[in-house]
Structure formats: structure tokens, C-alpha cells
């Protein structure tokens, strides 16, 4: 294992320290715990707070989306491990401005348990919470079992919309409804080419033969729906986009936002090759791309591979995506 680290056990705290030192104008730690980060101006009175969280190892996911027009705080755990309920509760208290707090995170068992427990603790201190789960990975469950799907890169659309709604002063119920609506219209699928290596174990998270790819992979290296020979970029895009269009039941005349996301070790050039074909397929189908994102938005350390997400747009969802936002890793407007 070759990694630029000091010691596996200090990896998480040290990258957080780096973020704080680099961006003191945008983010802060509300208490002593480096695993809890809030936007610099939190709490904002009268505005809904948005708390997200999950394991480390996914930057810019989770920690990278705390800022203006985005999430208000985050609690992170060790690499690929849930934060504790106490850390989530600390994040909650740090951003409660009297209008309640939305919990928005991916649909993973440990995260759900700890966020639910944090919601119990918040209730004891009269902080209202609502929960919306990212569950956009079409490969993890068929549409009829969509409530059991994993949350992957598509949650960034939900962060953006929820953050915009909270920023303009919507109520907790309104922010939750908007977020749920965005997730309902989001679909993602990924492919993996090479595993991540966990700093703590020094071992690859899965193994693939040379010339193989995992189709429908999760962001922790969880197995996908199938494994097959490595395809060309165009073949990959064809299969993935076809699955997403079918899942969202998109017809000619539909408008979408597209995200081509790198999983950590795939160069931007390759992501643009994927975007090229994605754009062609959608154009051929009469589907308009009103907004696009190409880059690393949700990674798994140095996993090689990519995911493609589509969000079906209407005027409201597009306006929420286009509202201003700023974090150390994400900027709009």
C-alpha cells in the first residue's frame, strides 16, 4: 500500500484539520470534535438547518457540501464507518436556528440507526427534525423496491435543492418535501474498475481480474448487479444511461441535469469521454440537458470507475440547482 498519510488512525482527523486550515472563512468546528463541521455562520436564526453525514473516504461527499446554499453541518465517522449519534447530535445543536433540522444522508444501516438516535436526542431538547434518505442507486434494488436503494452520488442534487430552499427561508416541512421530490426524480448507476485500499487495513476492498469491471458498484466497493468484461466508454455510457432513462421513465422532451462522477482514481479526461457519449444518447432521445456536472463529487478514496446520475428537471428543480452556493469543494453562481 502506498499512501500519503502519517498513520492510519490519524488520517481522518488530519485531513479535517487540513480543510479547516485551508478554509476558515467557510467552515468551523462548533466544538472540540474534529468529526463535526458546520458552516462558518451557523446557526442561522429562522432558517432550517441541514445535517448530513456518513463515513470518511468519500470527499468531496459529506464534508465537502457544508456551506452557503448547501448543508449546514456534517458529522463524519472513520473511513466507511458511520458517525456516532452523539456527533450527529452535536452537529444538530450547532445549526438549529429555531426552524428545525433536516437530516439528509445515504440509506446505510449504521447511518440510519445513528441519525434516528440523534433525532431522539434532539427531540428531548425540543429541536424538530425530519429525515430524508438519499436512495438513488438503481443497481442496488429495482424501482419497485426503491425505498431500499443505496444512496450514492445523486444525493448532491438533493443537497443543492435542500440548501437552496433552506437559504430562502422555507419551513422544515417544505424543505423536506422539496428534498424528497428531488430524490424521487434522481437515478444513479456506477461502474468499478479497480478497488480502493482502506488505510486501516492496507487491503483492497474487492478484487477484479484484469479486463473485468463491476457494473452497479456501490461507493464502498459493494458488489453491483453483475460483473463483466471491461467495455469501451461508449458501451458503458450506453448501458448506464439506458438504465437511468428507463428507471426515471424519461420521454422525448424531458429536461435533465447530468452528473458524471469520478470515484477517485479515474482521470477527468475519461469522465469527459463518458460525458460525450451520455450527451449524444440523450440528444438522440430528445432529452435536453439543462445542467451538467463533470468531475469528482462522491468518491471512494482511490477507487477507479465512475457513476452517472440523472435528475429529471422541472422549472422549480432547475431554479434550486441554479441558486447560489459555496463550499470549499462546490460553487454555483
Amino acid at each position: 500500500m502506498k499512501k500519503i498519510i502519517n498513520a492510519p488512525e490519524s488520517f481522518v482527523d488530519e485531513f479535517v484539520e487540513g480543510i479547516l486550515l485551508a478554509h476558515p472563512d467557510l467552515v468551523k468546528t462548533p466544538g472540540d470534535d474534529l468529526r463535526v463541521l458546520a458552516r462558518a455562520d451557523a446557526p442561522r436564526q429562522g432558517h432550517v438547518g441541514i445535517v448530513t453525514g456518513g463515513g470518511s473516504g468519500h470527499l468531496p461527499l459529506f464534508k465537502g457540501y457544508v456551506g452557503t446554499g448547501l448543508c449546514s453541518a456534517v458529522a463524519i465517522g472513520n473511513v466507511f464507518s458511520s458517525p456516532s449519534s452523539d456527533q450527529i447530535f452535536e452537529a444538530t445543536k450547532a445549526v438549529d436556528g429555531g426552524a428545525g433540522v433536516l437530516y439528509l444522508y445515504g440509506n446505510y444501516g449504521g447511518d440510519v440507526l445513528n441519525f434516528d438516535l440523534a433525532a431522539d436526542l434532539a427531540e428531548l431538547e425540543d429541536i424538530s427534525t425530519r429525515t430524508v434518505l438519499g436512495r438513488d442507486d438503481v443497481a442496488s434494488q429495482p424501482r419497485e423496491r426503491k425505498l431500499d436503494r443505496r444512496g450514492v452520488a445523486g444525493i448532491i442534487f438533493a443537497y443543492k435543492a435542500a440548501g437552496a430552499a433552506a437559504e430562502r427561508g422555507d419551513s422544515l416541512d417544505e424543505v423536506a418535501a422539496i428534498t424528497e421530490d428531488v430524490i424521487e426524480h434522481t437515478a444513479t448507476m456506477g461502474i468499478g474498475l479497480a478497488p480502493t485500499i482502506l488505510p486501516t487495513t492496507g487491503r483492497p476492498s474487492f478484487e477484479l481480474e484484469e479486463g473485468e469491471m463491476e457494473i452497479g458498484i456501490g461507493i464502498h466497493g459493494e458488489p453491483g448487479s453483475r460483473r463483466g468484461p471491461l467495455e469501451t466508454a461508449d458501451e458503458i455510457a450506453d448501458h448506464v444511461v439506458e438504465a437511468l432513462v428507463a428507471d426515471l421513465d424519461l420521454k422525448s422532451g424531458a429536461r435533465v441535469a447530468v452528473m458524471v462522477n469520478g470515484l477517485g482514481a479515474t482521470p477527468l479526461e475519461e469522465l469527459y469521454v463518458l460525458y460525450r457519449r451520455t450527451h449524444q444518447i440523450l440528444a438522440e432521445s430528445g432529452i435536453e440537458i439543462a445542467k451538467n456536472y463533470v468531475g469528482e463529487y462522491a468518491t471512494s478514496l482511490e477507487m477507479a470507475g465512475a457513476s452517472i446520475s440523472l435528475l429529471e428537471l422541472n422549472d422549480e428543480r432547475l431554479a434550486l440547482l441554479e441558486a447560489p452556493a459555496k463550499s470549499p469543494f462546490f460553487q454555483e453562481g
Binding site: 456516532s84 449519534s85 440507526l113 445513528n114 438516535l117 431522539d120 436526542l121
Partner: protein
């Protein structure tokens, strides 16, 4: 049972329960990932420390909530989160309780069982702590004598554990063992049995 006595009894019981940590660790190593021993020992020690800090005027609700927070944070794990959520759910039915009756204990156990079923997405028969907790809640229904109620709870918890040996694990890491899990007692249900037994031992010691 008034608040001060409740506080003493919980601390006494958990001090006894810690002695079962090795047994629970071994059971959990066979079926899960082996962290139940540390969840129980670290969690119990944290609850004892938290309850010692509570002011004299703390109510039964305060005691339950302080226990939940301490248990959750001592060694965060799925079991710790489920148990803490269950304690908070139980505390909600004690909102106005100053003197805990058998009926209050029954309501607490029933609310705790409902919480674990919902949070853990589990049912009776899935071979989890719920099997024991639901049996204890049932055993306390319509009991009027404290000693008899406790004995009934212990008998029910032990019977539930015995029954889990015949079951295949359907939740958590143990579910991956499939039929190989048959024949082994569920560690979570066993932890509950040991807790109820500890409650009696602590009471006998007090007397």
C-alpha cells in the same frame, strides 16, 4: 420504586452484568463480530458513571435518558444504538412517573421492544434481543407482586434464549451464517437474560 432506589438498582445490576461480558463476547464471536462484550461492559460502566453524577432530584425519566445517552456513546455500535433508542422510547412512557410500578416497568419494556422492532427492522423469531425483550414485556403483564414479576421475567427471558437456539438468524452479521446459526443462543437475547438476572442478584444483595 422511587427514583433514588431505581438509580441504585440499575447501577447495582449493571455492575453484576459486566461479569457476563466475556460470555457475551464469545457468543457474539461465534455469530457476529464479537463486539457485544465490549458494548455491554463499556456501556454498563458508562451508565454507572452517568447515574452517579445525576442530582438527587433526578426523576425516573431523567435516569432512563441519562442511561440511554451514556450507553450510546460508550462504544457506538448497532446494538448500542438500538438499546439507547429503546431506552429513550421507554422513557417516553414514564413522562409523569415518580414511583415506578410493575405496570410502568411493563409499559417501558413494551415500548422498548417496539422501538427495537422498528429501528432494527426486526420481528419476533428473527433471533435477536427482541425475542427476549418481548417475552419479558409479556411476562410482566398483570403482575402485582414485585418478586413474582421479576421471577416471571427471568423465566421468560431464559425460555426465549433457549428458543433462539432453534432459530436461524435473520438480522445483522449473524444472518450471513444462515443455517449454521442454528444451535447457538442469540447473543443479544442472552445479554437481556443476564441483565434481568442481574436485576434480581442486585436486589438480593441490597437486602
Amino acid at each position: 420504586m422511587e427514583a433514588e432506589q431505581l438509580n441504585d438498582r440499575i447501577r447495582g445490576s449493571l455492575a453484576v452484568l459486566i461479569d457476563s461480558a466475556d460470555e457475551l463476547r464469545d457468543l457474539d464471536q461465534a455469530l457476529g463480530d464479537g463486539d457485544l462484550g465490549i458494548t455491554i461492559s463499556a456501556g454498563s460502566a458508562a451508565v454507572i458513571a452517568a447515574l452517579e453524577q445525576l442530582p438527587a432530584e433526578a426523576t425516573p425519566v431523567d435516569i432512563a435518558r441519562a442511561s440511554a445517552k451514556a450507553f450510546a456513546n460508550a462504544n457506538p455500535s448497532t446494538m448500542a444504538a438500538l438499546v439507547a433508542g429503546a431506552l429513550l422510547a421507554g422513557s417516553r412512557v414514564w413522562a409523569d412517573v415518580a414511583d415506578v410500578t410493575i405496570a410502568d416497568a411493563q409499559a417501558f419494556a413494551a415500548a422498548a421492544a417496539t422501538s427495537i422492532a422498528q429501528r432494527g427492522k426486526t420481528q419476533i423469531g428473527d433471533k435477536t434481543i427482541l425475542d427476549g425483550l418481548a417475552a419479558v414485556a409479556d411476562a410482566l403483564v398483570d403482575q402485582t407482586d414485585a418478586d413474582e414479576a421479576l421471577d416471571a421475567a427471568i423465566t421468560a427471558a431464559a425460555a426465549a434464549v433457549e428458543n433462539t437456539k432453534h432459530l436461524q438468524s435473520r438480522r445483522g452479521r449473524a444472518s450471513w451464517l444462515q443455517e449454521r446459526s442454528i444451535g447457538m443462543a442469540d447473543p443479544g437475547a442472552t445479554a437481556l437474560q443476564r441483565f434481568v438476572e442481574s436485576w434480581k442478584i442486585a436486589g438480593v444483595d441490597v437486602k
